[in-house]
Symmetry: C2
DNA sequence: ATCCTCCGGTAAATCGCTCGACAAGGCAAG
DNA sequence: CTTGCCTTGTCGAGCGATTTACCGGAGGAT
C-alpha cells in the first residue's frame, strides 16, 4: 500500500490540486457537487493529508505543548489529571493536538521550552510546572511566543496565567477553622510555588487579624512534592513542636491525608482531638475516614479555561491574560468545633 | 524579531544551505572547524530548525502517539502515571516527543488512531486504551503502521504488545491466599479487558486445582473503571452473597482499597476476619491501614520496554513484538492465615 | 449586444529543510 | 606528472501541502 498524496486524489477525482486542498479544508469556495466527488475519492483511499506538509505551508502546527512538573512519578498526581483532562477536552474540540512534556532538568537545560515554540512544533505552551525557581521563564516576557502558566502565577514577571485564587482559598479555609473556634492551628505549607506562598501568607494574615480573637499559626514545610508522605512527616513535626494545636491545615489534600494518617497511627482522633483540612477537594477526600474538609478547586475548569485562553492568544484575539478562578468551601467530617473552645 | 531560517544561518556563516543542515544533524561529513563556525551563528540567533519542514523532508515526525483510556478523569489513575513516565523517559532520550490522546468515543469514531499515523503526525503508536471492544484495532493487523498495545493483549488479533504477565500474577496471588489456608475466596474482577479476563480465569483455575484442597471462588465484576468506588460496591455484593468468605482478591489495588473501605465501614476486621489482596502494588498500597498485600507490577518498566519496542519497530529492527514481563508477590498486613483454617 | 459581477475552479509560487549526486582540492602512489 | 582516492563542502531536486492571484463562463442590468 503506497503512500498517497493530495496529488493522487486530484488525478483520480479529475480536479486540480488546489481544489482538493480547498475541499479538505472545508473552504466555502467549493460547490457541494465537487466537494462530494472529491470526498468520495478521499474516503475510498482513506486518505489523510500529510501534516508536516500542512504545517509547513500553513505555518501552524495545530499543536499545544503541555509541560507538567517533574515529580517523581508525575501523573500519579490527581491534580494534574483534572487539569490535563480539561485541556484535552478543549484542545481536541478546536482541532488541536497535545504534545506532552515533563519539566526535567534536561528539559530546562536544553531549552526545550523555547525550542518547542521556536521550531514551531507547537503553536503555544501551557506550563503547569512553574515553581519559584523558574527564572528561565523570563524568555517569555514580551516575546512573540504564546505562553501561559496554568494554575500558577509568577509575581514580578509579565507572564500570562489562569489560576485558581489561592489567596481566596486561604481566606475560606481560615475563616472556616476560626469560625469553629480554633486558635492554635498547624499549617502544612507548600513553599516551592508562588501560589503556595500566597496561600500560606494569606492564611496566616487572616488568622492574625481575626476579629473574634487572633489565632496562632505554626507552620512547617510539607516538602517539594506536596505528597502524602510529606504531609505525614510534617504532621509529626508539627505535633512534636506544638502538641496542643487543635487543627491542622494542609495546603493540599494529599498532605492533609498524610497528616490524618499520622494522627491515626499515633492515636489522635480526627476531628475530636485535631481537626484536619485540605485544599483541592480531590476525589479521595470523600473517601478517607472521616471525610476530609477541603476547599474545592475545580482544576478541570482551570484546564478548560487555560486552553481557551491560549487559543485566544494564538489567534491574537487577546494580548495577555491573567485570570483568577473562584473556589469554595467543602465541609466534611474532618473538621469540628475546637475542643475546649468557647 | 523576525523568524529565521536555515538560509539566514547559511548566509551569515558563509556556508551553503546544505552544510548548515548537515551541521544541525551532526553529520560526520563536516569538519570540526566548519561545525564550530556554523554553530556560533546558530547560538547567536538561538536558532531552531522548523520541525514541519524537517518532518516533510525527512519523512519522520520523531513523535510517538500515546493513547490512554477514557476513564472519567483519566490521569487520576496512578497506573497510567507510571506507564507514561516510563515512556517519556525513553522517548525523550531518543529524541522523540509524545503526542497525547484520550480514547474518547469521538477519537474512535473519527478514526483518529489511524489518522495520526496516516498523516505522519506520529511515527508510531503506543496504545494503553485497549479493552475487549476495541475491534477497530484490526486496522493495525499486517498494516505498515507501527502500533503496540501497552499492558494489554488482544487474543485473536495479530497485534504487537508489551504487558505484564497477568496470568502469572493470578497464579502468585492464588498461591499466596491458598497457602494461607483460604478456601472461600471472593474475587473482584475486571472484565472489560482481556488481561482482566486472563487474570480471573487463571485465578479461578488455580483455586480449583489446588493440591491441598480445591477452593471456592465467588466472583463479581468490579466495574469498568477498576475504581475504589467499584471495589466498594463489589465488596458489598460479595459479602451479601457469600457472607462466610475469608478472603477478597481484587484485580487491582484501587478496587482492593475500596473493598477494605467497605469492610471497615461494616466493622469487619482486615485481615482477622477477611484477608484482602490487590494487584499492581501502587504507592497507596503501603499507605492504607493495614498495608495492602499485592502483586507488584512494574508499570514504569512496562513503559520503558514498550517505548524501546515501538522504536525498534519504527527503525525496522524487529518485525513484531509480544513481551510478557514478570511480576512478584508483595506481602503486607492485609492478608493472614484464614480464620478457622487448618 | 455590451459590460459587469459573481461563482467555481486552477496555476504556480511558496513554506524550510534533507539528502543523494557531484565537485574541488590535497596528497600518496605509480 | 598523472592518476586515483579521500575528505569536505555544495547543488538542486524534491517532500506534500496551502494560498493568492487569475480566469472563463453564466447571468443580470442597461
Amino acid at each position: 500500500m503506497k503512500r498517497r498524496t493530495i496529488k493522487d486524489i486530484a488525478k483520480e477525482s479529475g480536479f486540480s490540486l488546489s481544489t482538493v486542498s480547498l475541499v479538505l479544508n472545508n473552504h466555502p469556495r467549493i460547490s457541494q457537487a465537487t466537494r462530494d466527488r472529491v470526498m468520495a475519492v478521499v474516503k475510498k483511499y482513506n486518505f489523510f493529508p500529510n501534516s508536516a506538509a500542512r504545517g509547513l505551508a500553513s505555518k501552524s502546527s495545530k499543536t499545544l505543548s503541555v509541560v507538567v512538573p517533574n515529580l517523581t512519578r508525575v501523573f500519579s498526581d490527581i491534580y494534574l489529571g483534572e487539569l490535563i483532562s480539561g485541556i484535552y477536552e478543549r484542545a481536541t474540540s478546536q482541532g488541536y493536538k497535545i504534545l506532552l512534556d515533563i519539566a526535567t532538568a534536561q528539559f530546562i537545560k536544553s531549552q526545550e521550552y523555547v525550542k518547542l515554540l521556536a521550531s514551531r512544533r507547537a503553536d503555544g505552551m501551557l506550563f503547569i510546572a512553574s515553581d519559584i525557581h523558574a527564572d528561565y521563564l523570563s524568555v517569555f516576557e514580551d516575546s512573540p511566543y504564546k505562553f501561559l502558566l496554568v494554575n500558577h502565577v509568577y509575581p514580578g514577571k509579565k507572564l500570562n496565567y489562569v489560576s485558581v485564587d489561592y489567596a481566596a482559598s486561604a481566606r475560606l479555609a481560615a475563616e472556616h477553622l476560626l469560625g469553629l473556634g480554633h486558635r492554635k492551628i498547624g499549617l502544612i505549607a507548600g513553599t516551592n510555588t508562588f501560589t503556595g506562598l500566597q496561600f500560606r501568607d494569606e492564611f496566616i494574615k487572616v488568622c492574625k487579624g481575626w476579629p473574634a480573637g487572633s489565632a496562632q499559626v505554626a507552620w512547617v514545610d510539607g516538602g517539594e512534592e506536596w505528597s502524602q508522605r510529606g504531609g505525614y512527616a510534617a504532621a509529626a513535626k508539627l505535633m512534636a513542636q506544638t502538641p496542643d494545636l487543635t487543627a491542622i491545615m494542609a495546603a493540599n489534600d494529599r498532605m492533609a491525608i498524610g497528616a490524618m494518617r499520622w494522627l491515626a497511627d499515633n492515636r489522635r482522633d480526627v476531628p475530636e482531638e485535631v481537626s484536619v483540612m485540605g485544599v483541592d477537594d480531590i476525589q479521595l477526600a470523600a473517601y478517607v475516614n472521616p471525610g476530609l474538609s477541603s476547599i474545592r478547586h475545580d482544576l478541570y475548569q482551570v484546564g478548560i479555561e487555560s486552553c481557551n485562553r491560549i487559543l485566544q492568544l494564538i489567534k491574537g484575539e487577546i494580548a495577555d491574560c491573567s485570570d483568577l478562578l473562584p473556589t469554595s468551601l467543602v465541609v466534611r467530617g474532618s473538621t469540628t468545633r475546637a475542643r475546649g473552645g468557647k
